[in-house]
Symmetry: C2
Subunit: 369 residues, 2 copies
Amino acid sequence: MCAGPAAELGITLSVFAEAEDASAALVVPSSPVGDHTVAEAVHAFAQHCDVVTFDHEHVPAHVLDLLVAEGVELHPRPAALRFAQDKLAMRERLTELGIPCPRWTRADDAAEVTAFGDAVGWPVVAKTPRGGYDGKGVRLAASADDLADWLERAEAEGTGLLLEERVPFVRELAVLVARSPSGQAAAWPVVETVQTDGICTEVLAPAPELDDDLAADAVHAALRLAGELDVTGVLAVEMFEVVDAGGPAFRVNELAMRPHNSGHWSMDGAVTGQFEQHLRAVLDLPLGSPRPHERWTVMANVLGGDYPDLYPTYRHVMARDPEAKVHMYGKGVRPGRKIGHVNISGDDLADLRERAAHAADYIQGVVTE
Amino acid sequence: MCAGPAAELGITLSVFAEAEDASAALVVPSSPVGDHTVAEAVHAFAQHCDVVTFDHEHVPAHVLDLLVAEGVELHPRPAALRFAQDKLAMRERLTELGIPCPRWTRADDAAEVTAFGDAVGWPVVAKTPRGGYDGKGVRLAASADDLADWLERAEAEGTGLLLEERVPFVRELAVLVARSPSGQAAAWPVVETVQTDGICTEVLAPAPELDDDLAADAVHAALRLAGELDVTGVLAVEMFEVVDAGGPAFRVNELAMRPHNSGHWSMDGAVTGQFEQHLRAVLDLPLGSPRPHERWTVMANVLGGDYPDLYPTYRHVMARDPEAKVHMYGKGVRPGRKIGHVNISGDDLADLRERAAHAADYIQGVVTE
């Protein structure tokens, strides 16, 4: 999704692709195929780049270390990326910075799980520190027994588990910001994210009826985090909205250091979309305006369903709603996999939500009329 | 500029490029190099395509004829494209359809030029029927003597010249529409185009203070033309706004059958940009909404100036105005050549015009602060 903005900006993009038929390789002329876990292969690729960035957080530390040692310009830098790769490191750092988080602990055995659950109340949320996304690597535990397998592996690997209280949240929010190596930063408005079965299915931009102070606090926290962690590129801060004694407040849930699902609305709904902004940021170009074009933009994810051929339903959606901006990723269809999204902008939020959801549901085959 | 929308729509684009370093070849993975005047070469390329379209009108008739004979799906079709390639054919057809045009004639010798000039008033506008653009192939003639060289060539080639009265216009307008093979059509709002030395330098979308009836008439004429000429893809209808006895009116100046400079504003200023719409149209996909995102969008062309390296000024413009959407085409800089454009959207038209013009002027080196 960086390909379009790169072409407009006059930036030559090169993708280190996982396979010849990878989505990105279909739209980027320079797409050598290789394994992102092999340091020498990534380094050989990186030598032809002015700047290297990532579309996921799973590049291993030994690969990043080699690139840094060889003087490759990496953004985000490994020292920042670590806080998106390792949830325990993230919790420790956020707590040091006084950013509101769910109560949490590191647990290495069943006794520690039980002590934490007894202290904050059951069930607790357990997370593997690394490798989770879209609900993977996250489990609700009613007792230590529910985590027996994870604890066994965590013990073997010496990684520990992250335990968090289950936050009684009103809704989920996300703040997307971009920051450049020279320190310029820009924030899009706070959005509401709607999750279904642990997967984000809908984003409302901006978050409707959000308390002004909470919005300002949330944006301030995200910008401060970007600065304190020295993030370069796009940073997504996922939050829970909660009600404290003092009124509406937030707890930070997760961080991502890359263009993020919660920012897809900006591709059509803002003056500068997140993929363009990420390119500007990692290249240390001046950042673009994150101002929304229209009052509301609703994003609905298209998940893989039962029909492998999405073309007929996609075509139907284009005909039914000329305002729907349908983005398909060129990925193979697997049930539950994010394979595209739909953005619709306008003045009537309820109407936009209905239409975006219908478009996404129709493409994936959930509704047929 | 189709590359971004094609990637988003999941359409695989292939470009028959004039050279390995052609702008399009830099951003489209499949870009075989060849000569668009060699029918066999174009046909070999076309065999791998579902649909073939054009980014200029200069593909020779014998090439188009071979493609049609071989069953290639061409859009626009040669029968329509002819009216964008041959200005005499265009004037004849528009006159048959009763679409308002400047008074015109075909002249093959000096006597015919003199007779026409004496009838409509001097100077007259002379055009070569084929091959003109951006002021090339257009000349203001105060007498037949001014056209001696053109008449000699026109006589040798048997092509004639198109003569038109010089229309006392208020301003220039353009209507962009898209039409699909199955007949669906959509029109963007009428825009004002500002020309400097025969080259479009600025577009205001929509045209400010445009008479409602004139706007409706202009859009109706463009949609009717698209239907009558069986245009597929984007059609740009360039017009003069004039004052008739009955009030504001228009005369059609030129036609273009492709995404057009007067529609670049739509890339950032409308729900569906012209390059996306052109792809949808030629592929017979349902058309997208042409609704503007914001009240005004101003487009300013960046012309080649004295500085071959535009990067420092481009960077300055990005920093000075985060709302400026700068599109650079990856073309070499030649004085007067269109090498990019800037779009800015918002509520204050005068402010947007100043900012867009400044950005374009700064990039090309006309202003330095």
